[in-house]
Amino acid sequence: MFEPYLYSAPALLLVAATTLVPIVIGISYAFRNIMLLDPTSGGFVGLDNFRELLRDASFWNALKNTVVWTASCVGFQFLFGLILALMLNRPFPGRALIQATIFLPWAIPTFLVGMNWSWLLNPAIGPLPHWAYALGLMNAPDNILSDPDYALWGPIFAGIWWGTPFFAITLLAALQSIPREIYEAAEIDGAGGLERFRSITLPFLAPTMVITVLLRTIWVANSPELIVVMTKGGPADASQIVASYVFTQAYQGLNFGYASAVATALVLLLLIYAFLLIAIRQAMLGRR
């Protein structure tokens, strides 16, 4: 039985060489002093990078932003996605077209989503600041991307716009896998619309919802593209999340050792998140 290895080896080797090996190397960098343009750097510095990390206000701010960013993106994506899925789950005239249109944002490349939204938020050519001003939401039609207090919300809007279809499609698929007969049986038994939603739709949908939200959380927390494109984490690191902080550290600071330390911290945080999830799952299984 060597065949399966033959078929899977090329893919596996490439994945190992370009992700697994670098992950290990990357973690080792976290304990070294590596400056890109400085050939004398490279020595081991133990936990120095991590000590610096603990003192780094930008990092703590990025950590706080990561929570805000992830929770707002995933929360709203989920909410809107669920509404859409429920509305698209019954046949009505024009459904196919409406569905295709609503799902379109998901197909737009992330960088373009980011640029598109930064243009919309730019008072020179975008309407959003002017509308917000007219509605009294803003004191002047300014660009929120350059406002340290609100800059993070630009990428969040873009993220919600872009990610909602993902939830809608996933939840719609789950909804459509619920056998029609169950609803019909419930209706014959006298269950009203709300009751049917509570006693059939929710329980059927719950596993998909939980898994999708949990996985999506990790993915969104790991994705700095929108922020890199829209604000580069600015102004003055105000909209930095940990993932984008790693990138800007590497890209602008050329301080690879420190960037790797931040990335390692991110991995640790995600591992803690994963273990928490597993622990909660175990606890819930144990209670059954």
């Binding site: 078929y7 893919a11 994945v15 490349p109 373009l112 991995v267």
Partner: protein, 280 residues
């Protein structure tokens, strides 16, 4: 929906009303992109927030196409995304086939590794890949990006291809093997033709993935000659004097291949999402 005609009317109006909101929200940013790209320079800033352009012109598109840099970026992106799509689909088809058809020692671990790489923050590999690729001459090279993108696409593409293979009865290649074919021949002559739509969809997913990637493209390929379209556009947008018109025209052009792909593979979206589970 049940109820008296009046209640029904209200319910349906509400239904369509809410959906209309979503449709507008989904389309508006794209509409704006197209609108600005068609607004000539003289009315671009004076009428910047009018819903309709006063006059329409293709001058920005002419600017973009006349600009050799953009053409170069476009060409680079097409090469990188095209080769990535082909390479990752081929490799993923092979490994997806193995997962679909064989139970073998280590399979569990291999799937695990692939899943984990999907969950890991890619930013952690940015610095090591930069250091590894530099000495190999893979920075500022299209090849470097192709390797990275292929590797990043493989896990997702593998699960996708596996789901397509799973949909094809195992008996088909068994029949072919009894008819006298080797397994590889059966794969090529019997299974591959039946998976063509799946292969096309996978290529589409990989193509768009590579088409839109920006982090590695920014970091690895800083030289203009090897920049991909996203990098070119982003760097263009941070120049001192920004010309919004041509930039948006370029954005619209970048959108075209993706939109074509989107409408072609619409019916595979759900499968793609369930196979990928975590990727978007």
């Amino acid at each position: 929906m049940r109820g008296s005609p009046r209640v029904r009317l209200v319910k349906w109006s509400l239904h369509y009303g809410v959906l209309l909101l979503f449709v507008v929200a989904a389309l508006f940013p794209l509409y704006w992109l197209v609108k600005i790209s068609l607004t000539p320079n003289d009315s671009l800033y004076t009428h910047s927030i009018d819903l309709w352009p006063a006059t329409i012109s293709l001058e920005h598109y002419a600017t973009v196409i006349g600009n050799s840099d953009f053409l170069l970026f476009f060409r680079n992106s097409v090469i990188v995304s095209g080769v990535t799509a082909i390479a990752s689909t081929l490799l993923a088809a092979a490994s997806g086939y193995a997962f679909s058809r064989f139970v073998f020692r280590g399979r569990y671990w291999i799937v695990g590794v692939m899943l984990v790489t999907q969950m890991f923050p890619l930013v952690i590999v940015i610095t090591p890949i930069f250091s590894i690729f530099g000495p190999l001459g893979l920075t500022n090279s299209l090849m470097g990006l192709i390797i990275i993108y292929t590797a990043f696409n493989i896990p997702f593409a593998t699960f996708l291809m596996q789901s397509f293979f799973d949909g094809i009865p195992k008996e088909l290649e068994e029949a072919a093997m009894i008819d006298g074919a080797t397994r590889f021949k059966a794969l090529l002559q019997i299974i591959a033709p039946l998976t063509l739509p799946g292969i096309a969809a996978t290529m589409g997913f990989c193509f768009t993935g590579a088409w839109g990637e920006i982090l590695f493209a920014l970091l690895l390929n800083s030289a203009a000659s090897t920049s991909t379209f996203p990098v070119g556009l982003l760097l263009y947008s941070t120049r001192a004097t920004i010309e919004f018109g041509p930039m948006m025209a370029a954005g619209v052009l970048a959108l075209l291949p993706v939109c074509i792909f989107f409408f072609l593979i619409q019916r595979y979206l759900v499968q793609g999402l369930t196979a990928g589970a975590v990727k978007g």
